[in-house]
Symmetry: D2
Subunit: 215 residues, 4 copies
């Protein structure tokens, strides 16, 4: 696979290069400029929303699919990505871990069966993480279709934990996801990149990528 | 509702009487004999397999539905209950908590999507509990359709915790159920008894009772 | 032991009567009045601060020790109790569980050794609990001598969980306490009442009661 | 610091080289031979007991302190290390994380105060880990001075979790340690190496290293 990478010198960028070994990095976007040595089939961007426009322009230029893991996107960013998806495949998610997405599916499906249970969310991340609550916590909350409180802890080097607690008068159900390392997101990005190569234009969730891997 | 109760003097029997307040206890089976002051519509038995035959005979005699929460039933006990269910409604489960049954549904549905994750079960109960692993842990294991290890802790007065841990190279998902009090099982028994009154003969799981409450 | 009980008709009052079985309840204070059939050696009050003055007056009248589990006391309430303790033994704590008090001791002693770890507190209680954070959470925070965030969850019938999470760049330590039932506080009250019988006037913490039981 | 490293090509060896950046690696022992470009002041060995004799000989030859993180040492290995410690400083531990060692101190000090609580241990590691229970779990068990059950889970890529559950009739205390990454052990090794430079011959635990850092 020939791939492009926005944010190639950042922490997540380095993880992606490590996990994408064996594939050709033909386009790099970072603080020092844009470097191109080929035509990317897919562009991966886990950086920040400031460079999203550049990623979109490059995707249009090369007809490349896009994998977007940038968090804290604005409504207008999402509109831009929707527009792009009329030309190329776009996989967008606030969390590229298989586990988180399966947790989301569980919540979407079982939240109504747990209607007599009250629920709250807890998420824990390293103290360097600036936004709170995490995009993932918001995504999980959406999946429950409830207006529930989210508690954000910022301590040490925790890669990312998310827990939802359901309780009624007599029992408690807790579902917890823990990222062991950042690598899990890079692995998800690689799967999503492969998905792009085999799909037509369109706006896809990472959940569709997971279901595709289960065929 | 006119109900009968096998094991009316035991710890669980007392919980049931407490939760069934407002209904008529017309038949009691316990260590000192069988006491009848009316015709039960349903018989509840959370005692032990030694008295199962008595419960079945009384159910046949009165055409009463049966709610069976006895654990550690043998294959032949289950056959006897199946035979009984050709005459009356029988609700049988190793665990009458809503939460545990929803956990079972989640495992049955998502275990295959988590096929790249390894899994193990942990269950913790009060040190007075003699059987290990718990019937509930075995039920949850069955739901995963995997041959996974079960770890049994027996400490203090814990009413009953069950956890399943799924992990792959980069992430962990843990689903935990905690019974806050024994009352939860008596509440489940009452719901199952109501279900019997509205259903024909047949062999039902507590899961069917839950789905019925969600109509 | 001859004991008095303030709030004898409340939920906690009933637990205390249950656990104090075998001792003589000779004085009751509740919504309908004050009922006396003897001279109490100790008065137990887990009700609310509105009736604290009555409890103090009765303690002075009978020279009875006092066990105070009322939460959300004001500074002036505490001053009143200190004054009372110049005449009789007073055991005051926001939490009468052995486990919570041992957790407090651990935090007081090890918080400084964990100085390179960041910390946050989480407490979970039944949704009927009105104050947040819990008095116990504040007590645990004090023990750490740190200014740390407290997250309060209010769901279902959870009797009371308290967790502290310490994390540095490479590791996490979590200490969790779970009350299994309200009974644990009544058991602590009984131990504290016994402590009063064997001690002179003075203001005592429940921690001193625990150390006394370990002699 | 001039240091030697036994097992320099293994997974832990690489972590150590990464964390020791800025110090001089002057001696390497690995599968392909012994490579020396200077005189080590301290030798670090987190490999396996087969090469322990080589590490000891080199330490004697250079008068270098030794940091030993090898697990599953035999009684005779420990005797050899004790003998070595009559000549040079030796820091030996089955776990070089600050958190685990603080957990050990808590257990040693509070296990007796929790005498009315029953206890069990759970440890979870990646499925590649062959020994069970972990050396760390055995070390924690020793600290409690109790004969308690240890449950070992082997799933996915979990770096290493250890939990101890204490419970009595009414409450549960759980203390959990989670390694976020292997790096934590390499950081501990660096601290222990620094400790060696400032200490005389003797056999030291990592706990003594931690107390030294807190001066």
């Amino acid at each position: 696979m020939r791939y492009g990478l926005t944010g190639s010198t950042g922490r997540m960028g380095k993880e992606i290069i490590e996990v994408f070994k064996g594939h050709d990095l033909v386009l790099e976007v970072n603080d020092t400029g844009i470097f191109r040595h080929g035509e990317p089939e897919v562009i991966v961007d886990f950086s920040n929303r400031e460079v999203l426009k550049t990623t979109i322009e490059l995707a249009v230029q090369f007809g490349a699919g896009v994998v977007i893991g940038t968090t804290a996107l604005s409504q207008s960013d999402l509109t831009d990505l929707r527009t792009l998806s009329e030309k190329v495949p776009v996989v967008q998610s606030y969390n590229f871990s298989t586990g988180i997405n399966i947790m989301k599916m569980i919540l979407r499906e079982f939240s109504s069966l747990l209607k007599d249970f009250e629920a709250e969310l807890i998420e824990t991340h390293h103290s360097g993480k600036k936004d709170a609550p995490s995009g993932t916590a918001l995504m999980l909350k959406d999946a429950t279709e409830r207006d529930l409180p989210i508690h954000s802890l910022r301590v040490g080097g925790v890669p990312g934990d998310h827990s939802i607690v359901f309780a009624n008068e007599g029992e408690v159900i807790e579902i917890t996801h823990r990222a062991i390392s950042r690598k899990v997101f890079a692995i998800g990005a690689l799967t999503a990149a492969r998905f792009c190569l085999e799909h037509e234009k369109g706006f896809y969730s990472f959940e569709e990528v997971i279901r595709w891997t289960q065929r």
